[in-house]
Amino acid sequence: MIQDIIFAKYNYIIYITLMTIGFYGMIGKRNLIKKLIGMSIFQYSIFLFYISAADVSGGTAPILLKEPAVYVNPLPHVLILTAIVVAVSTLAVGLSLAIRIHREFGTLDEDKIIELS
């Protein structure tokens, strides 16, 4: 029973785990870069969710098929491509902010920055 859930839906469990790790990173870590890493993990966990939802076991890509076959829903993949672009841009903004902060305050430790500002 439990095995069924774990093995049949393990990707969903991983998505929840990743999300929690991401949250932990954003909340628990003082270093801004680590916070950003947490943020990225959090975002990517959602991508995993989308992809998992689209997956059909044994399905193929819905291109270049001559006859009807089981295929994977392509739309979530496309959506997630967009979302990945967004995530990468966010990370880029975040990292450049971190660089500016480091230049301005000389540290990336949140406590020290708050003391300095």
Binding site: M26, L32, K35, M39, F42, Q43, I46, F49, Y50, A53, L75, P76, L79, T82, A83, V86, S89, T90, V93, G94, L97, A98, R100, I101, E104, I113, I114, S117
Partner: protein, 489 residues
């Protein structure tokens, strides 16, 4: 040409943003007029769209000719068009104001600033114009990314404010994305109209509840609804004044628009009002936000920070009106989107003007400003009176409808909250009036020293509109009521 306007409003913005750096490379000074031109175009298109919606009914534009639900649809009804005009109008006016203000506060950064400015404007317009829920997420992120960067060009503390906002904004967007994901998994469609048709069969499944909670929390962050407002005061305080003005007037409002859209169009009003009283809990949170925002505003000394907390309170008003979900309150809430936008943009521009001329931010140092900058301060007074809710300003009309709606709902606590917060608002603005008009400057002779016309003019226009719309409040109210009657049972 005309039938392509819904997409043109976005295309103009995206192309405009793309060409800004190129124009900036030719001559830096051209960036600002270019941004004004682009936002003016968007403004004109949005006015035309509003006109068309009012005259000929809802517009549905199929991107690339693909029929929805396969293709992306831009669907415009009265609410969209109304918010479009508001957002585009504010973006245009502030872009004129921004020339001098940004030039003073963050000199030499025109090139990236105006690119981002146009992107932010376009992102917001995209959120409003689209009829596809995933598209909404994408535009939300376009706008947000531009906003993070724009905030970060402010003073020293703005970096951490922006960072905080970015983390919160990303969580918000991710929640929205996840919520959308659940809806998609359940229904297999992303088109809003299509979703609203397919969802009713699925009501009662826990996964819809999770999606709902994710969407509400995600959008609450974007609208800075108490207690998720924590990013807002820092961001508004430390961002350049023009950016604060624009964000205060538009971005949170667009978030509220999205909330209304999701709650009342995608998911049906019956569901969020009766089956799962989402609106019930939201209205209490909003009421808490109204009072807390006002109280925290009184405790502030920095004028921009005070205005930011005041925003928290006023956003509470809007959400309260929307979430009480009767016709009067809803009308009041949506009208308050307009009135708060007008007043808050005006007030932030005045704050920026004061900083431009004197560099003062502490409200107890504003003594004698009434003589130094008579027109600016007069506009401030009008905005503040509207904020308090004194006729004949637009703020009065919306608060009147809100109070009326609360009475209709027979919720006396909300009535008391609305009136009490008016008094608190009066308290924190009077402190400023007192200093501005009666405080005596000991040292120097005060000479009239107004800000340049390009800054003064938008300020005065906003004050004038606040007054004029107050006198002719029936105009926007009629438009809004039309939409509200169509949505609420």
């Amino acid at each position: 040409m005309i039938e392509h306007f819904p997409v043109l409003i976005i295309a103009v913005g995206l192309l405009g943003a793309f060409f800004t750096p190129i124009i900036g490379l030719i001559r830096k000074e051209l960036c600002s007029p270019w941004a004004s031109l682009i936002t003016l175009l968007q403004f004109l298109i949005s006015i035309f769209l509003l006109y068309q919606v009012l005259a000929a009914g809802n517009i549905s534009y199929w991107l690339g000719g693909w029929q929805p639900p396969w293709g992306i649809e831009y669907a415009i009804d009265i609410l969209n068009a109304f918010v479009l005009v508001l957002v585009a109008g504010v973006c245009f006016s502030v872009s004129i104001y921004a020339k001098k203000s940004l030039g003073f506060e963050v000199p030499g950064k025109e090139l990236p600033l105006y690119t981002l400015y146009i992107l932010l404007s376009t992102g917001m317009l995209g959120i409003v114009v689209t009829g596809d829920i995933f598209n909404l997420y994408v535009f939300l992120e376009i706008g947000s990314l531009a906003a993070y960067a724009l905030i970060a060009v402010g003073d020293r503390q703005s970096l951490m404010a922006s960072f905080n906002y970015m983390i919160m904004g990303t969580i918000s967007a991710s929640f929205i994305l996840l919520g959308i994901g659940y809806l998609y998994v359940m229904t297999g469609t992303l088109n809003m109209a299509d979703l609203s048709e397919r969802l009713p069969e699925l009501y009662g499944r826990p996964v819809i509840l999770v999606a709902l909670a994710l969407l509400v929390v995600g959008l609450s962050i974007k609208t800075a609804l108490f207690p998720l407002h924590t990013w807002l005061p820092d961001a508004y305080t430390h961002a350049p004044s023009a950016v604060s003005a624009m964000l205060a007037g538009t971005f949170t409002k667009v978030g509220i628009y999205a909330l209304i859209r999701v709650m009342f169009t995608v998911i049906s009003p019956e569901y969020v009002i009766e089956t799962v009283p989402v609106m019930n809990i939201l209205s209490w949170v909003a009421a808490a936000g109204i009072v807390a925002g006002s109280v925290l505003a009184i405790a502030q000394y920095d004028i921009k920070r005070m205005l930011a907390y005041s925003s928290v309170s006023q956003i509470g008003y809007i959400i309260l009106g929307v979430s009480m979900a009767n016709k009067l309150a809803m009308t009041g809430g949506i009208l308050h989107i307009l009135s708060h936008s007008l007043m808050k943009v005006g007030l932030f521009m005045v704050a920026g003007a004061i900083i431009y001329r004197t560099g003062i931010r502490n409200i107890y140092q504003l003594k004698g400003m009434g003589k130094k900058m008579p027109f600016t301060m007069a506009a401030f007074v009008i905005g503040a009176l509207s904020m308090i809710g004194i006729p004949p300003t637009i703020g009065f009309a919306s608060k009147f409808y809100l109070a009326w709606g609360a009475l209709e709902a027979e919720n006396w606590v909300f009535v008391a909250v609305i009136l009490l917060s008016s008094l608190l608002t009066a308290v924190y603005f009077w402190r400023i009036f007192e200093n501005v008009y009666f405080g005596v400057h000991e040292h120097e002779e005060i000479k009239k020293d107004e800000v340049p016309l390009s800054m003064l003019l938008p300020i005065l226009i906003f004050a004038a509109i606040t007054l004029l719309l107050g006198l002719f409040a029936s105009l926007p109210i009629g438009v809004i009521e039309h939409w509200v009657t169509g949505v609420l049972p």
